[in-house]
């Protein structure tokens, strides 16, 4: 276990936009049904942004709540994990920091798709360990529906919008809330499994317009499932070993809310019983990077996650990218 300055969770907040979309709403415009979506994804409803609302707007709302929860409206840095920044350039985090009135603090985006919160956690912990900041606001936010092809029933029923945030401050690795050993990994040879093919320099440098569908998110479901299950299982196992825990000691398992069936497959392999798994995918869908902090915030507010719980976090996403981390849940004020 590291003995340097640890990053300790002191506040949490989340936000979903007000526009709720049910499976019946989707069935009205796509060839699908409530039972088809529920049985294949475990999702019943989700929230989506209204026209003109951006990831930054969601991030500000979640950030505000996390700062209030921490009881400290100042932080030394802002990290925003997102796949759907407000614009290609510049990063969204500086505008979020400015809108939160945080002054000229360092602020930047982290791009690790659905693993973004765990990669952001590593970035935030690094800023603290390096002495760049004594406290960091880490926000994970995605207006994921803005890159989804509304006519693609395989992704349109899964992805949704939302934001979650935590405040981290410098502390001791031994205290509750200290982020334990972080396990991260990537496999760029399989980047094509989860991608938006166009809109970046590869396509723009050709000088030719891309096919319209190439501006939308595309995912090869079967290969993604296989790699997601394997990597989340392995990373979770490694994170618990490095923390000195046994999997049977895990009180709450919090995985990226990708798809109810992936969550079940991973927790079955880890031997984590249903009552120790937290999930909110039924009500919010897959919110990309936001899914883990959104679930942590909701579960804390509802009391399903409480001080002293040994929590195992894991995520998998495009890149490919994946990760896992452990934390003993601290006493937090919920907003």
């Amino acid at each position: 276990m590291s003995t340097g300055r640890a990053a300790v969770v002191t506040g949490i907040g989340s936000y979903v936009p007000p526009n709720r979309v049910t499976n019946d709403d989707l069935s009205a415009r796509l060839e699908t049904s409530d039972s088809w979506i529920r049985s294949r994804t475990g999702i019943a409803e989700r929230y989506v942004v209204s026209p003109g609302t951006s990831t930054g707007d969601l991030a500000v709302e979640a950030g505000l709540r996390a700062l209030k929860s921490a009881g400290d409206e100042r932080v030394g840095a802002v990290v925003l994990a997102t796949t759907t920044p407000d614009q290609p350039c510049p990063a969204t985090a500086p505008q979020v920091a400015a809108r939160l009135g945080l002054g000229p603090v360092p602020a930047f985006d982290v791009a690790a798709v659905c693993s973004g919160f765990l990669y952001g956690l590593a970035s935030a912990a690094g800023l603290i360990a390096a002495g760049v900041a004594d406290s960091v606001l880490l926000i994970a936010a995605d207006a994921f529906t803005t890159i989804i092809d509304p006519a693609d029933r395989t992704t349109a029923v899964i992805f949704a919008d939302g934001a979650g945030a935590v405040v981290l401050r410098a502390g001791s690795p031994a205290e509750p809330g200290a982020v334990g050993p972080l396990v991260l990994g990537s496999d760029g040879e399989l980047s094509h499994l989860i991608e938006v093919p166009a809109g970046g320099s590869r396509q723009r440098s050709t000088g030719r317009p891309a096919a319209p569908r190439d501006h939308f998110f595309q995912m090869l479901g079967r290969d993604t499932y296989r790699h997601a299950v394997a990597h989340m299982t392995a990373a979770s196992t490694e994170a618990t070993v490095r923390a000195g825990w046994h999997l049977s000691n895990v009180d709450r398992f919090v995985a990226h809310q990708a798809n109810a069936r992936i969550l079940e497959a991973v927790s079955d392999r880890l031997g984590i019983p249903a009552e120790r798994r937290l999930s909110n995918i039924e009500r919010v869908g897959n919110t990309g990077a936001a899914s883990i902090p959104l679930l942590l915030a909701e579960a804390t507010a509802e009391g399903r996650l409480a001080a002293g719980h040994r929590v195992l976090l894991t995520a998998f996403g495009g890149g490919l990218s994946w990760g896992a981390a452990t934390v003993i849940w601290p006493e937090l004020q919920t907003i």
Partner: protein, 76 residues
């Protein structure tokens, strides 16, 4: 092999046991593409059989899946 496949389908993939007959199609037992991936992983972990999800998707019925399993177990 049919019994082993039945056990995996009913215990692990929650397919109703009475629906699993040799003539049943993937649609009949509601085995969608992700369930086929899971079945491929389970055939490997439970029975040591290497049958890809691509191969399983070409099997039209439960009997076709059993035939694939028999072929693969004969070659190991």
């Amino acid at each position: 092999m049919l019994e082993q496949l039945k056990e995996i389908l009913s215990n692990k993939l929650k397919v109703a046991p009475e629906a699993i007959t040799p003539e049943a199609t993937r649609e009949d037992i509601e085995l969608d593409s992700l369930a086929v991936v899971e079945l491929s992983l389970l055939l490997k972990s439970e029975l040591g059989l290497d049958i890809s999800d691509d191969d399983l998707l070409e099997a039209e019925t439960v009997a076709d899946m059993v035939r694939l399993m028999e072929e693969r177990s004969a070659t190991v």
